[in-house]
């Protein structure tokens, strides 16, 4: 029976928001319950998750935290490359600044979580403004090379012997202790799992809102044809800078969580390879789709983890092979290809159901 009470304006808005986001919300709920499900399968009770007991549930939470951090990082790259069309080869620096700053603030300066987070956000804005300095002057591959230059300088600095007391130079920053017990990955795994999960979800929703906003639409227009966007009266520089700042803060936050979860910061996160990792993740998931970044991060980490576990030293070759096959056969990424072929897939499913006499 239908309700006769008319929904209020607020109620209607909440219902609309719920309907629009029911997919991500269902995924969020599934991921919250996932550790409990694994614990039950393992013969442990649900309290094992809350009590941080050793087992598959705890281990998989650790792996998922890594995936969430990668997903935040990949989302930040998708915003500037996939949405705004800015090819940066220096994106690793955005992440590494957050990771190193967190490590140095905790270890060398003894800062708490609050001041460190504030410093990470400020650093995120500053480095985006630094990239923004060259934005009006260079475009395309030249911008990519200039950003690579910035990131290379940063990599040289963190690896230099003069900085060994702070960054650990070639060895990396080791022995970082998180000053807040509630953020400790060893003792409070489920809490950290929830924090990083909610943050990933939050970033995804903010990015989706951004893409649907007037500013986001100008970013898409800039990616498609910057000249045309300017002819409509938009100074595209400010829109590209906005995307860079948002992306930089997000990547720096991913770096913050990286150091919190794995209290070792390797200089590899400041290298070109780490930028390529972000590119691979969004290519595999679907460039410019946002949700593709989440899928790409999961594929990237799970492939790496399981192939290394099963094939040891041969894994690198196999991972490379899988990347080549994915790019050849799923050229728009998993989500991108699905979106492009959604209609065909739907028709195919209906044909199959008719063949099986499940639909007239």
């Amino acid at each position: 029976m239908q309700s006769t009470i008319p929904p209020t304006e607020t109620g209607r808005e909440a219902l609309r928001l719920f309907k629009e986001n029911r997919g991500p919300l269902a995924m969020l709920l599934a991921l919250i319950l996932f550790p409990f499900f694994v614990a039950l399968l393992d013969g442990q009770g649900p309290t094992a998750v809350l009590n941080n007991e050793i087992g598959n549930a705890r281990f998989l939470q650790g792996l998922l935290i890594e995936i969430f951090i990668l997903a935040i990082y990949a989302l930040s790259y998708d915003l500037i490359l996939g949405i705004t069309g800015l090819l940066s080869f220096g994106h690793a620096m955005f992440f590494a600044v957050g990771a190193y700053l967190t490590g140095i603030a905790f270890k060398s300066f003894g800062w708490g979580v609050g001041p460190t987070l504030a410093a990470v956000i400020v650093a995120g804005i500053v480095q985006a403004l630094l990239f923004g300095l060259v934005l009006p002057r260079v475009k395309g591959i030249t911008f990519a090379l200039v950003t690579l230059g910035f990131a290379s300088v940063f990599e040289i600095i963190v690896k230099s012997n003069e900085m060994v007391a702070y960054t650990g130079a070639d060895v990396g920053l080791q022995g970082v202790v998180v000053p807040a017990a509630w953020l400790n990955t060893s003792n409070e795994r489920f809490r950290l799992y929830l924090i990083v999960l909610f943050f990933t979800f939050f970033v995804y929703l903010v990015y989706r809102r951004f893409v649907d906003s007037p500013t986001g639409r100008v970013c898409i227009a800039t990616r498609e044809n910057e000249g045309r966007a300017q002819m409509l009266g938009y100074n595209t520089f400010y829109f590209k800078l906005t995307a860079l700042i948002l992306s930089s803060i997000t990547a720096a936050m991913a770096g913050f969580f990286h150091t919190v979860h794995q209290p070792i910061v390797s200089p590899a996160v400041a290298g070109l390879g780490w930028t390529v990792a972000a590119l691979l993740m969004i290519l595999m998931g679907g460039i410019g789709t946002l949700s593709g970044a989440l899928v790409g991060a999961a594929i990237f980490r799970l492939l790496q983890f399981y192939l290394e576990r099963w094939f040891g030293g041969n894994a690198t070759f196999l991972i490379g092979l899988v990347y080549v096959l994915l790019v050849m056969f799923v050229p728009y990424g998993v989500v991108g290809t699905w979106q492009a072929r959604r209609l065909d897939i739907q028709r195919g499913r209906e044909r199959l159901l008719r063949l099986l006499h499940l639909r007239p």
């Binding site: 007037p214 639409r217 498609e224 044809n225 966007a229």
Partner: protein
């Protein structure tokens, strides 16, 4: 009547090529003026020079008495000049609604103009949610013109509006441009002489980068010698 746009003897280079070697065009407020000439004569470059996309190195361009030189294309657009480039320059990754919405210069521009725009191009209302990639060539051309109508533009620069359109759509386009010209001054480039003669009140012929003849369209249609000499058409 006063001139809304005055292009005074401009010279424009693209790279090392001297494309415009002295083009002068006056566009009267409230009129439709057409640039005529053979392919490669410099008609599109003249429009792009006005928009600041290929800034002239010599000469002067005045819009409502204000010089345009040294201004970026986004500043020129903000002064009230809409540009509809050739080849249906819409944003293919955005929907019809988003393509129109993005052209708003002030909040509410689209809401105010909606009735007028959908009156000119009723098809667009039906296709409002469709992405740009799904539109036909004619629909894309209509959207490109409709987009330039969203903000309060004083002058519209339209490049080849009839290019590649079916005859029935060309007629629809002519009617639409005639209606929009009631509120806006138009400078257009048109290869199709029949379309140009139906639309424009004034013409400027550009030949090898120079403006060589100008006058009233009503006089040109009877001047077979000029048509043969500069346009190669009857």
């Amino acid at each position: 009547m006063t001139n809304l746009l005055e292009v005074q003897n401009i010279h424009t280079f693209i790279g090392q090529f001297h494309i415009l070697e002295g083009v002068s065009v006056d566009v009267l407020q409230g009129s439709i003026t057409v640039l005529l000439g053979r392919n490669g004569a410099g008609k599109t470059t003249t429009l792009k020079s006005v928009m600041g996309l290929t800034p002239p190195s010599q000469g002067q361009i005045l819009f409502a008495g204000e010089p345009l030189q040294g201004r970026r294309s986004y500043d020129i657009a903000a002064m009230g000049i809409g540009f509809v480039p050739e080849h249906r320059a819409i944003f293919r990754d955005l929907s019809v609604a988003e393509n129109l919405k993005i052209a708003e210069r002030c909040k509410g521009d689209l809401a105010r103009k909606e009735e007028f725009i959908f009156g000119l191009f009723p098809d667009l209302k039906r296709l409002i949610k469709l992405p740009g990639t799904k539109l036909s060539g004619g629909q894309q051309q209509m959207l490109a013109i409709a987009r330039a109508l969203v903000p309060d533009n004083k002058l519209l620069l339209i490049d080849e509006p009839s290019e590649g359109l079916a005859p029935v759509l060309i007629e629809q386009m002519i009617t639409a441009i005639q209606q929009l010209a009631a509120n806006t001054t138009v400078l257009l480039v048109e290869q199709n002489f029949v379309v140009a003669s139906k639309l424009a009140e004034r013409y400027v012929i550009i030949e090898e980068g120079r403006s060589v003849k100008k006058g009233l369209m009503a006089e040109l249609v009877n001047d077979q010698e000029t048509i043969h000499r500069y346009l190669g058409a009857a």
